[in-house]
């Protein structure tokens, strides 16, 4: 799947859409869209009337043109949907190729023997062997072994990833390829409901169900259409009182121009396009509902590490105790870190070189033994002969020093506390029983993240930082990053409780996570974005999967959700506002024969009643095509307050919707009267 934007006017997409738009004219399909279905019914009636005129030898040029444009109105709507679907289908085809003809090696018995069978015959719970060069036959969980896997078919990311049993890297996706080693996989999804299958169905729009807001909008549009049924169907009675007759085909034209065909025609295209926009962002939404919910999010729960801060803390300062030279502290810290492959350890070596010119040394000649960090000791260090250098959590090193009979200077506590209160992590360094000082490990807040949070705040979204740090550290980082709130010493339970608390206050919560212990919170959140690198449990619990495993994407997802709703709202407003001009085109044309004075309502100065009606219906059809690009791209969106967004969109689509048809209809009228069409 490519992350590159597709050209809106790519002929490879447009040409097949021309054909499939015809198939969508099937009334059984179209009935899902009440507004366009009504237009189709009208078009059928108008066609019958036109044929009757033709057969009876009456002048039929005008009604013929009306019939043509009525059908085009319906066709343009189905074409919009077909184009939107075509874009998804292109993505689905790329996915489908990877699914072709995988042969699975199903393990039989305990001896490691296997039988080969087509992947689609696999059942949930089957154990399969996947060796280097094989495609993984289905979604599952690694139960044994470690392998590098090429997941580019799904993620578009060419660098192979590690998949191993246990832990948070155990999920594998059907259709991805094992590059080295071998793994045993327990199949977790039946054929046809695998991740890949669902992805294909989603991007193709085959499983598209109307989202709650879409349903509500469809009802609103249907209701408006019904009001216009009364308005139009009663006209013949009014005209008969006034001593005239209004041709049915003119009524049909008035009705079709009045009902909200613009938004009715583009509604499903907007929904499909919104989904595709997410897919191009490498995010898969499991339902349109989730995309919509993301626009409503009030609270974003963001993990500190990797989202707000760079993944790792870095040493930023050596703080020696009184009587200790800084270089002495740096020297000890560097020695203790030379073999420490953790990012923190490496950053100490880097700082020692940068601040004190200490070059890296070889461990070998020093006859040093590296003591790795463990959860029990919470220290690491090095033993050089009898000298034991340790660095680690303050209380652990203090206990270590005391155990060796050392004395803790009173200043140490002060330094440790100061570092912690500034959001850093104090790492105490000691040589044997002598404490030397503190290495200041600092969380590095990502560049630009503060501005992102400010944007979110302007949109009315509160950000909450989730961290395992103690409250003091968390508060300092929260302040530096500019988040609104934080949850310190977070456990999965605390996270879940926080989500529930926010939701009980009527708020919608979004979060992302990858581990199995995130699953309950992901499931509880209104928008749960699971990382593609995460566990099966996490992926099942969330309603979106981020293929790039980038937690900051949550912010973009919210924007896409909002843009989707805004596009619908903007086009609805535009569509309804259009009616004013259409009335002014058609009403005088329809009634001028009854009361010639009504020509005063012909404010556009349209050439003749027939050209007025024709211009209105042509404008009504063409505006659908003209707005397809907008429906697919979405209205432009910059994060700002709701009041500012409303002001802007009302000006553009409300006022624009009032004015545009006056100009458009006038221009079309000039064109068709010049061409002698009416």
């Amino acid at each position: 799947m490519s992350a590159q934007p597709q050209s809106l006017l790519d002929p490879k997409l447009l040409v097949p859409a021309l054909g499939s738009a015809f198939a969508k004219l099937d009334p059984r399909v179209l009935v899902r869209n009440p507004v366009m279905f009504a237009v189709e019914v009208i078009a059928v009636v108008a066609t019958a009337l036109f044929l009757r005129d033709l057969a009876s030898g009456q002048p039929a040029a005008f009604s013929g043109q009306l019939v043509f444009w009525l059908w085009l109105t319906v066709y343009f709507a189905t074409f919009a949907e077909a184009v939107a679907e075509g874009r998804g289908r292109a993505q689905a085809d790329a996915l489908r190729r990877t699914r072709s003809e995988t042969i699975a090696k199903r393990l039989v018995g305990r001896g490691g023997g296997y039988e080969e069978l087509p992947a689609e015959l696999l059942k949930v719970g089957d154990l399969v062997l996947v060796e280097a060069g094989d495609l993984i036959p289905g979604d599952g969980e690694v139960v044994e072994g470690v392998a590098t896997v090429d997941e580019s078919a799904i993620t578009g990311e060419s660098a192979p990833v590690i998949r191993e049993s246990g832990g948070d890297r155990s999920a594998v996706t059907g259709g991805t390829k094992v590059l080295s080693d071998q793994i045993k996989v327990r199949i977790s999804a039946a054929s046809g409901s695998s991740f890949l299958d669902r992805m294909i169905a989603l991007v193709e729009g085959a499983e598209r169900q109307k989202t709650p807001n879409e349903i509500a909008l469809t009802i609103l549009l249907a209701g408006l259409s019904l009001i216009f049924v009364f308005a139009v169907a009663t006209i013949p009675a009014f005209a008969s009182y006034s001593g005239g007759v209004v041709p049915v085909i003119v009524l049909a034209a008035l009705f079709v121009t009045l009902i909200p065909t613009t938004i009715g025609g583009l509604l499903s295209a907007i929904g499909i396009a919104g989904m595709n926009r997410l897919v191009r962002f490498n995010v898969l939404a499991m339902s349109g509902r989730a995309v919509e919910a993301s626009g409503d999010v009030d609270v974003l729960l963001l993990d500190k590490t990797g989202t707000i801060t760079l993944g790792n803390r870095q040493a930023s300062e050596f703080l020696p105790l009184p009587g200790v030279r800084a270089s002495e502290l740096a020297d000890a810290a560097q020695l203790a870190s030379l073999s420490d492959e953790t990012p923190e350890g490496r950053s100490i070596v880097v700082l020692a070189k940068a601040a004190h010119g200490l070059r890296g040394r070889e461990m070998g000649p020093l006859e040093a033994t590296f003591i790795p960090f463990t959860a029990q000791t919470r220290m690491s260090g090095v033993d050089i002969g009898a000298t034991r250098i340790r660095k680690g959590a303050a209380d652990a090193v203090i206990a270590h020093v005391r155990a060796l009979g050392g004395v803790i200077p009173s200043e140490l506590d002060g330094i440790v506390e100061r570092v912690a209160s500034e959001g850093g992590t104090p790492l105490v360094v000691a040589t044997d029983a002598r404490p030397l000082g503190v290495v200041y490990l600092k969380d590095i807040v990502k560049g630009g993240i503060r501005e992102r949070f400010a944007e979110l705040r302007a949109m009315g979204i509160r950000t909450v930082m989730i961290t395992g740090d103690n409250p003091m550290t968390a508060a300092a980082i929260a302040a530096e990053a500019g988040v609104d709130d934080f949850l310190a010493q977070a456990t999965p339970e605390a996270k879940l409780a926080l989500i529930r608390k926010e939701q009980s206050g009527g708020k919608l919560v979004a979060m992302c996570g990858d581990g199995t212990n995130d699953a309950p919170a992901l499931a509880q959140a209104d928008v749960g974005v699971a990382m593609q690198t995460g566990t099966v449990a996490a992926r099942e619990a969330g309603n979106m999967v981020d293929l790039d495993s980038d937690p900051t994407k949550l912010i973009e997802i919210v924007g896409i959700g909002k843009q989707l709703l805004m596009t619908r709202g903007a086009l609805t407003t535009f569509s309804i506002a259009n009616d004013v001009a259409k009335y002014f085109a058609i009403i005088p044309a329809m009634f001028v024969a009854l009361y010639p004075g009504l020509n005063a309502l012909n404010v556009m100065g349209l050439a003749s009643p027939q050209s007025a009606i024709l211009s209105a219906i042509i404008f009504n059809a063409l505006i659908i095509v003209a707005l397809i690009p907008l429906a697919l791209k979405g209205v432009s969106y910059r994060p700002s307050s709701a009041a500012a967004l409303l002001r802007r969109n009302l000006a553009v689509y409300g006022l624009g919707g009032l004015v545009a048809p006056f100009i458009g209809i006038k221009l079309i009228d000039m064109a068709i009267s010049a061409a002698g069409l009416a």
């Binding site: 609103l220 009675a237 959700g561 609805t572 407003t573 009634f591």
Partner: protein, 569 residues
């Protein structure tokens, strides 16, 4: 138009605005069951009512139970009113000895007063006994007004409550509306009207000799008591055929001002109740601002149209400076007649001090449009607010989408159920108005009642079906509506306009009450600012108004254009 005319309009607006907040505070207390200054006297009365009827006022009803209670009251009310009208010949308080009312007129009149319409196919002083006026009509005046207020409060509770299963208790809301609001106010108002010269008597009509020596019968009756509720409850049914143009029903300018203020008083105050109950008075002011903007536009257009003289008359040499005085009381003049016409049709009152049929085409179109918009410009007591809130639901839905969120209003999410029910409610009025008009325009019985021909005749019919469907009750005059055809047709219109709207509206209330309230954030667009007011006005005009454009263009618009071209029909 004169400065004096505008000063009178401004005076009315100022008094109404000044009343809104204190009255809103009082109503909020009444409907919340809190103590007011009237409680020491009236609370025991209220409690005894509940004890007799076995009602527990604190027991909430679901929206459907609330609706059923309301409908049950109306069934009984209809039967009682119908019976009294039919049997009035045999009932007391009938000094003139009027016979029973014909079945179709009794049906029309009973439904008319039941639905707060007060369409009158009859002339009061020649048809109705004092007993019918008091027992059948005035009682319904109170009940229909109290029902409207109760329903509005039920919808407000829908917005104000959080995860609640009920919308209030209909019986309690009804009792409180009558006991604490309508009855005390009407007693005071009736006494004031009596002081200003309105009759209040059960004696038979007086006979007098005029200066020329001819005999004249002067109709009297318990006018003041009915006049008070007729205005305060936006009922509008006149004691006399001439309604408030009759000197006994509107003796002087002060009485006229009190009447106008009492039409708008409760309706305007209910917007403040809405604001207070949802916890932000600005929400109420925004609604009132939208109403006010539409109202002032209507007043300006009507006043402008009436101040201009009929071009056909001018062509015949009539002095144009007098404006269009046809059908207007010289006592009130053009400014007050225009103002009153707009007030009475903006609210669902229907009382008149001038003949709308004699207004210029445009001047007469504004009252029609006021009603066609659903009478949401202050509107009938209660009905105006719930009508406007339904439009607000549509406005909020569209606006909410435009800012990229699931729409919410006063903290309540507007979802497909609310949209569905709201559209259902908003469909009734255009359906009833236009379909019934089409029936009338194509039937001989319908056309038989017309006075004028051409577009003005069409306007007369359009006004009648509009007035019925909107539950207004004012008449364009000209149309002779006391025929079985029109009586039944308009009765159907009044029923649809009232009940087909109320039931889905209550369902919206129930659905909203069950929802939790979403706290506002920068992401929710403010519904108390000018932007929302403008949007709401736009939605009212486009969704509520555009539907009638074809009908209006064949009626008043064609009429106006023909008049200015010197054409008559």
């Amino acid at each position: 138009m004169t400065v004096n005319g505008w000063l009178q309009i401004a005076l009315f607006c100022a008094i109404t605005l000044l009343l809104t907040r204190p009255l809103g505070g009082f109503l909020t207390k009444v409907y919340s069951g809190e103590r007011t200054f009237l409680h020491p006297v009236l609370a025991p009365v209220e409690r005894s009512f509940y004890a007799i009827a076995g009602v527990r006022p604190d027991r909430d009803q679901s929206w459907s139970a609330y609706a059923i209670a309301m409908l049950a009251l109306h069934v009984v009310g209809f039967l009682a009113a119908y019976a009294v009208l039919r049997l009035q010949g045999a009932l007391p308080w009938n000094p003139q000895g009027f016979a029973g009312v014909t079945p179709d007129l009794a049906l029309n009149t009973a439904i008319s007063f039941l639905t707060n319409t007060n369409w009158q196919s009859y002339g009061g002083e020649t048809t109705m006994s004092y007993g019918s006026q008091m027992v059948a009509l005035t009682v319904q005046n109170f009940l229909s007004a109290a029902t409207g207020m109760a329903l509005a409060v039920a919808l407000i509770r829908g917005f104000a409550r959080k995860s609640a299963s009920g919308v209030g208790n209909f019986w309690a809301d009804l009792t409180r509306s009558v006991l604490y609001v309508l009855l005390p106010a009407c007693i005071v108002l009736a006494l004031v009207y009596v002081a200003l010269g309105v009759p209040q008597t059960l004696q038979a009509y007086a006979s007098a000799k005029t200066l020329e020596g001819a005999g004249q019968t002067i109709a009297l009756g318990p006018v003041a008591s009915q006049l008070a509720i007729k205005m305060l409850g936006t009922n509008g049914g006149g004691f006399f055929n001439a309604n408030s143009a009759h000197p006994f029903e509107n003796p002087d300018a002060l009485a006229n001002l009190i009447q106008m203020v009492s039409i708008f008083g409760i309706g305007a105050a209910l917007t403040n109740v809405f604001g207070r109950m949802v916890g932000d008075e600005r929400q109420g002011w925004a609604i009132l601002a939208a109403m006010g903007a539409l109202f002032l536009t209507g007043v300006a257009v009507t006043y402008w149209a009436e101040a201009a003289a009929n071009p056909i008359h001018v062509a015949l040499g009539v002095d144009p400076s007098a404006g269009n005085m046809e059908g207007k009381e010289v006592r009130f003049g053009i400014a007050l007649s225009s103002l009153f016409a707009v007030i009475t049709t903006a609210a669902s009152c229907g009382a008149v001090i001038a003949m709308h049929d004699s207004f210029s085409a445009i001047g007469g179109m504004i009252p029609m449009i006021n009603m066609q918009l659903g009478e949401v410009i202050v509107g009938g007591v209660g009905a105006g607010l719930y009508g406007m809130l339904l439009f607000a639901v549509v406005a909020v839905f569209v606006a909410g989408l435009m800012v990229g969120r699931t729409p919410e209003y006063a903290g309540k999410k507007i979802e497909s159920r609310e949209v569905k029910l709201t559209m259902l409610a908003l469909l009734c009025s255009p359906f009833a108005t236009l379909v019934l008009l089409a029936v009338a325009a194509t039937s001989a019985a319908g056309l038989a009642g017309l006075l004028a021909s051409g577009p003005h005749g069409f306007s007369e019919m359009l006004y009648a079906t509009t007035s019925a469907a909107a539950n207004n009750g004012s008449a364009f005059a000209g149309l002779t509506a006391n025929s079985p055809f029109w009586n039944v047709l308009l009765a159907i219109g009044m029923m649809i306009g009232r009940f087909a709207l109320i039931v889905p509206m209550l369902a919206v209330a129930g659905s909203l009450a069950a929802k939790t309230r979403v706290p506002a954030s920068a992401g929710t667009f403010p519904t108390h600012g000018g932007l929302f007011v403008g949007l709401l006005i736009g939605v009212v005009l486009i969704v509520g108004g555009l539907t009638y454009f074809p009908a209006l263009s064949l009626g008043p618009i064609a009429d106006a254009l023909a008049t200015s071209a010197g054409q008559t029909f």
